[in-house]
Amino acid sequence: MDKIGVFVCHCGSNIASTVDVRKVVEEIKKYPGVEHCENYVYMCSEPGQQLIKDKIKEKGLDAVIVAACSPTLHETTFRKACQSVGLNPYKFESANIREHCSWVHSDMKRATAKAVKIVETLVEKIKQNEELTPISIPVTRRALVVGGGIAGIQTSIDIANSGYEVILVEKDSSIGGHMIQLSETFPTLDCSQCILTPKMVEAGHHPNIKLYSYSEVEDVSGYIGNFKVKIKKKPRSVDFDKCTGCGDCMTNCPIHYEAQIPPVPKYSDGIDPDKVKELDKIMKKYTVGKEEVPDKEMLILIMQDINLQYNYLPDYALKYLSEKLDIPLTSIYHAATFYTAFSLTPRGDHLVKVCMGTACHARGASRILEEFERQLQIKHGETTPDKKFTLETVNCLGCCALAPVAVIDDDYFMMTPNKVGTLLKKYSKE
C-alpha cells in the first residue's frame, strides 16, 4: 500500500483565517493510509516545496497531496517538485480547500470539517492513482470547423492564416448563417453584409480552406490529433466545376421557390379565446371613431386597466397587446417594469400598501413596514404563500397629516405598530 503524505497550506490568512489548518492536520493524520501530515504557511514557496521534497526522501513517501488552492494554480508546481526527487508526477494530487472552501464560507467550524472531507476524498482518490508515463504520437495538423456562421468563418480564416489546413463544413447551401439574415448589428448598427460578405469571400477563396457546403458531419472517431471524420455531401445535381452561381436555375425552376424563413407564430393563436375577448373589451374602450385598434399612445392606459382587472399584468396579455398595437414586446416590458403601479406577478386578495412618504418616514413608517413584514413573514413586494396578502410600499399616499399611513385595498388607516396585527386579523377573515 502507498505511503501517502499530506501537506496543508495556510496560504497566509487566505485559508488559515477560515479553516483551522492545525485541526485538519490532526484529523488527517488519523486517516488510514496517511503516513505523514503537516502544515506550512506557503506550500508553493521555495521552502515549502523543499519541505515536500525532504519529506518524500525522509519518509519514503510514494504519493503526495497538497491541500491548498485550486489545481489550476499550482498543480504543475508540485508535480515538478515531486518529479525532481523521483516521484511519478501523477502520484500527486491537489486538494482545493481555498476556492472551494475557505473563500466561500465564514463559519470556521463547518469550514474546517469540510476541508477535512475534501482532503479525505483526495486520499481515497490517490490510492487508486497509477504511475503514468507520457508518450509521443504524430499529430495530423489539419482542423475541422463545423458550421459556417460568422463564428465558424472567422475561426476558419484565423486557423488558415496561421498556416494550417481547414475543413469548413456547412449544412446549408451557403455559408453566412444567421448573421447574414440580419439587417443591422449591435452595437454599431453596421449592416451585417458589410461585415460578413468580405469574410465569406475570403473563406471561399482561401488556399488553406476547403469548403464543404450543403454537407453534414455524419461520424467522428479517433482521438486528439488523429480524428477520423465522415462528411456527407448532400445531393445537388449540379456540376460544381461548371457552375458559376448565376441563379438562373432557381428562377426557372417550375417548383415555386419559397423563402426559408418559417412563419412567426401569432401570440393570439395560443391564447384562450375568452381571455382574448376580455382583452379586446378593454382595448375597445380606447378606440376612437372607426379605428380597429387603439392608438399606440393608449398603451399605458390599457395596461393600467388590465392591471386593475387582473391585479397584475399576465404575460399573455402583454404579448397580445404587442401584436395588436404593433409595439415591440421589449417596449411593453420596459413600460411594465418602469411604472411601479404594474406587477408582473399575481397579487394577493388584499393589497397592503405602506406609505413611505417623508411625513410618514419622520413619524416612523419604517417600523410599520417592519411589523407588517414580520407578521406576514414576507418582504415588501412579495405575496404571502396563501395568496391572501401582498405587501407593497408607496412613495406618498397624499394623506400626510395622518402619518404614518397604510392603505389596505381602498381603505386608509392611521397606523401604529400595535394596529398591524388587528388589521391583518380583520382582513384575513374577509
Partner: protein, 617 residues
C-alpha cells in the same frame, strides 16, 4: 342642464343660482377629504343623512359634503354655517346631538370644540382658531363652501365668471399680459414665471398647441394638489380653459397620479359637467373657442413629474426625461408647443382674472407673489394644509398656525421642497418663505411640502431616506444619477450602520458636485440637495456617526441599544409579552432584562412600557 350658448346665458344662470341661496339657512359642511375619510367621514355623513331624515329636517338644513378643509389633524371636521362653528374629531355618535343641540337650539357642544394647544381655551368659531386665523385662503378657501361634484355650487360662488369675462372682453394677448403682470410663478417646484411660459408658447410656431395640468404630485409629504382636485376641481379646470384661450390651444390634458383615485373621480365628474354646460367642447359660450380635455393617469413613477418625462408618459411611452435642447413650450407633447403647469398654478388663474393683477401682486414679497399652500406635516401639533401669503416666516407657519411641536419636544429642522429640497434649521426660523429665500438657505419651495422634524429625527437618516427614495426613482437613463445615487446610498448606509470612515463626507461632497453638474434632468441635478443641506447645518451630527459611532437622535438601529432601567421597571411583564423576539425575560414584579443577541430594535417595548423604563441609547 342645457348647453350655454353665450356669455349672457351664463350670467343668467349665475344670477339664478346665487339667488337660490339663502345665506341664513343653516348648513352643515362635512369634510370628506381623504384625511377625514380615513378618520371615518363616510360614517359621519351617513349618520347626518339618516338623522336629518329621521328628524325631518331636510327642508330646514342643508348638508354639504365637501373636499378637504385643511385641518386634517382634527378630522372629521364639521363646519356649521351661518355661525361658522367648527366641530372637530366628530364621530357618527355625535351627530344626533349636533342636530338637536346646535342646529335646533343654538347650543354649543363643548367637547367637540377645538382646544388651544397653548392656552387650553375652547374656541367656538373657525375664524378664531389659530390654525385658520393666520391663514389667507385665496385658493383653498372655497373648498368648504361647495360640493366638489356639483358644478352649480361652483358657479354659485362665482365660478366660471373669470372664463366668461375672458371670453367676452379680453384678447388672448391681454390674458397673457395680466398673468405676466401679476407675477404668478409656477407652484410645482421651480417657480418659473407662468406668464412668461404662456408668452413663449404663444409665440412658438405650431398648428396644435397643448395645455396640461400636472397633477403628478410626486413629492412625498405634499398633498395640496390632491386636495384642490378633490375639493374644487372646477377651479383648476377653469384656469386651464383660460390658459388654453390665452395660448390658443384646442387640446388639454390632465396627468393624475394613480395614487389619487378620488381626485381622478372628481375631476372626471367636473369634465362631464363642464361639457354639458358648454365650458368645454365646440364654440365655448358662443365665443368660437374650441377646447377639450383628456385624462392621463400616472403609473407611480416619481420622475413623471418632470415635464419631458410626463409628456413621454402621456404619449404612451416610458416616462424617461430627455435632454432639453428644445424647451417644452416650443416642442413638448407630440413635438408641439405645450404649456405645463401645476394644479395650484392653474387654480390661481381665475382668482387673478377676477380680482385683477394689481390686487394679486400686492400679496407676497418682492419677487414671489400671491399665496402658497403648504402641507404642514410631521412632528407638529396641527398638521394639515395651510395657505399663507408668500413671505410668511417659518416660525409663524410652524408655531402660530401649526401650534408648535408635538409632545413638547424640541424643534430641530423643517424639510421643504421634497427630494430636491433641503432642511432649514432652527436658526433660520424667522426666514420669510418665498422662492428666493428658501433657495438661499439651501432648500427650495418645491411643491410645498413642509415636514417638521424634532430632536428624535436623525439628519443622516433623513438624507439617506431621500437618497434611497431617488435611487429607486431614478429612471436609469443617465449615468451620474443612476450610479451616483447608488454610491451615495452605500456610503450613507455605512455611516448609519457604524461603518463610516474619515473622508466619507468629502467623498460624498465630491460625488454631489458631479451629480449636480452632469445629470440629464432636475431629478439627478438636485438629488444631492437633501444631503448637502443636512450636511451644511448638521455636520456635527454626521461626524458623531462617523467618529463616535453614535446616533444622537436614537434612530440608526445599528448604533443604538435598548436596555431596561432598573429603577423604573416594575416587573409588570408587559414588554416581555409584546416582544416579538422573546428577547425580554424576567419574573413577575422583578427587574426585566433584554437579551441583546435576540433584540431586533423594533421599539415595541418602548411603546408598551407604561413606566418609561426602556432606555434607548
Amino acid at each position: 342642464m342645457a348647453k350655454l350658448k353665450s356669455v349672457k346665458e351664463f350670467e343668467k344662470l349665475h344670477k339664478q343660482l346665487t339667488g337660490k341661496k339663502n345665506p341664513k339657512k343653516p348648513s352643515i359642511a362635512v369634510c370628506a377629504g381623504t384625511g377625514c375619510v380615513a378618520l371615518g367621514a363616510t360614517g359621519v355623513v351617513d349618520a347626518f343623512k339618516k338623522e336629518i331624515k329621521r328628524m325631518k329636517l331636510s327642508e330646514k338644513v342643508e348638508l354639504l359634503i365637501t373636499g378637504c378643509h385643511g385641518f386634517c389633524e382634527r378630522g372629521v371636521v364639521v363646519l356649521l354655517r351661518p355661525e361658522g362653528i367648527l366641530y372637530q374629531r366628530v364621530k357618527p355618535a355625535d351627530v344626533p346631538e349636533i342636530l338637536e343641540k346646535t342646529i335646533l337650539n343654538n347650543e354649543i357642544i363643548e367637547r367637540l370644540l377645538y382646544e388651544d394647544t397653548v392656552t387650553g381655551k375652547k374656541i367656538v368659531h373657525e375664524k378664531d382658531i389659530p390654525f385658520y386665523k393666520h391663514q389667507d385662503r385665496l385658493i383653498f378657501g372655497s373648498n368648504n363652501q361647495i360640493n366638489p361634484t356639483s358644478i352649480d355650487d361652483y358657479i354659485s360662488i362665482g365660478g366660471y365668471s373669470a372664463l366668461a369675462r375672458v371670453l367676452s372682453d379680453m384678447k388672448p394677448e391681454a390674458v397673457v399680459d395680466v398673468i405676466n403682470k401679476s407675477g404668478l410663478r409656477g407652484r410645482g417646484g421651480g417657480g418659473f414665471p407662468t406668464g412668461k411660459k404662456w408668452e413663449y408658447c404663444r409665440r412658438a410656431e405650431g398648428d396644435i398647441k397643448y395645455v396640461i395640468i400636472n397633477a403628478d404630485e410626486g413629492d412625498p409629504g405634499a398633498y395640496m394638489d390632491r386636495s384642490i382636485l378633490e375639493g374644487n376641481p372646477h377651479s383648476v379646470l377653469e384656469g386651464l380653459i383660460i390658459g388654453a384661450y390665452a395660448v390658443e390651444s384646442t387640446e388639454g390634458y390632465i396627468y393624475v397620479r394613480q395614487e389619487y383615485p378620488l381626485a381622478l373621480e372628481h375631476f372626471t365628474t367636473a369634465l362631464d359637467a363642464a361639457r354639458k354646460y358648454g365650458f368645454l367642447g365646440k364654440n365655448i359660450l358662443g365665443s368660437g373657442m374650441n377646447f377639450d380635455v383628456k385624462i392621463a393617469r400616472g403609473g407611480g413613477a416619481f420622475v413623471c413629474g418632470e415635464s419631458t418625462a410626463l409628456m413621454a408618459s402621456i404619449e404612451g411611452r416610458v416616462g424617461e426625461p430627455r435632454a432639453k435642447h428644445f424647451h417644452t413650450v416650443e416642442r413638448g407633447l407630440h413635438e408641439s408647443p405645450t404649456v405645463l403647469n401645476n394644479v395650484e398654478t392653474w387654480a390661481n388663474v381665475p382668482v387673478i382674472i377676477n380680482k385683477g393683477w394689481e390686487w394679486f401682486s400686492e400679496i407676497g414679497t418682492d419677487r414671489s407673489k400671491g399665496t402658497k399652500i403648504f402641507s404642514l406635516v410631521g412632528k407638529v401639533n396641527n398638521t394639515g394644509l395651510v395657505e399663507v401669503p408668500m413671505g410668511t416666516t417659518l416660525r409663524q407657519i410652524i408655531f402660530d398656525i401649526g401650534g408648535g411641536i408635538q409632545n413638547n419636544k424640541k424643534f430641530k429642522a423643517v424639510q421643504t421642497g421634497g427630494p430636491s429640497g433641503g432642511v432649514v434649521p432652527e436658526s433660520l426660523l424667522d426666514l420669510p418663505v418665498d422662492f428666493e429665500r428658501l433657495t438661499e438657505a439651501g432648500s427650495m419651495m418645491g411643491s410645498g411640502g413642509m415636514i417638521v422634524m424634532d430632536e428624535n429625527n436623525c439628519m443622516v437618516d433623513v438624507a439617506k431616506y431621500f437618497v434611497d427614495f431617488l435611487k429607486d426613482e431614478s429612471c436609469g437613463k443617465c449615468t451620474p444619477c443612476r450610479e451616483g445615487l447608488i454610491q451615495m446610498s452605500e456610503i450613507l448606509k455605512d455611516i448609519t450602520e457604524g461603518n463610516g470612515k474619515e473622508g466619507d463626507l468629502e467623498l460624498l461632497e465630491e460625488l454631489s458636485w458631479v451629480m449636480t453638474e452632469t445629470s440629464l434632468c432636475a431629478l439627478g441635478a438636485s438629488a444631492a440637495f437633501p444631503f448637502l443641506s443636512t450636511l451644511r447645518y448638521f455636520r456635527d451630527e454626521y461626524e458623531v456617526h462617523i467618529k463616535e459611532k453614535r446616533c444622537p437622535a436614537h434612530v440608526c438601529k445599528a448604533l443604538i441599544t435598548y436596555t431596561i432601567n432598573a429603577k423604573k421597571c416594575t416587573g409588570c411583564t408587559l414588554c416581555a409579552l409584546k416582544c416579538p423576539q422573546d428577547a425580554i425575560s424576567g419574573e413577575k414584579k422583578a427587574l426585566h432584562e433584554i437579551d441583546q443577541s435576540k433584540c431586533i430594535k423594533c421599539g415595541i417595548c418602548v411603546d408598551a412600557c407604561k413606566f418609561d423604563a426602556v432606555i434607548v441609547d
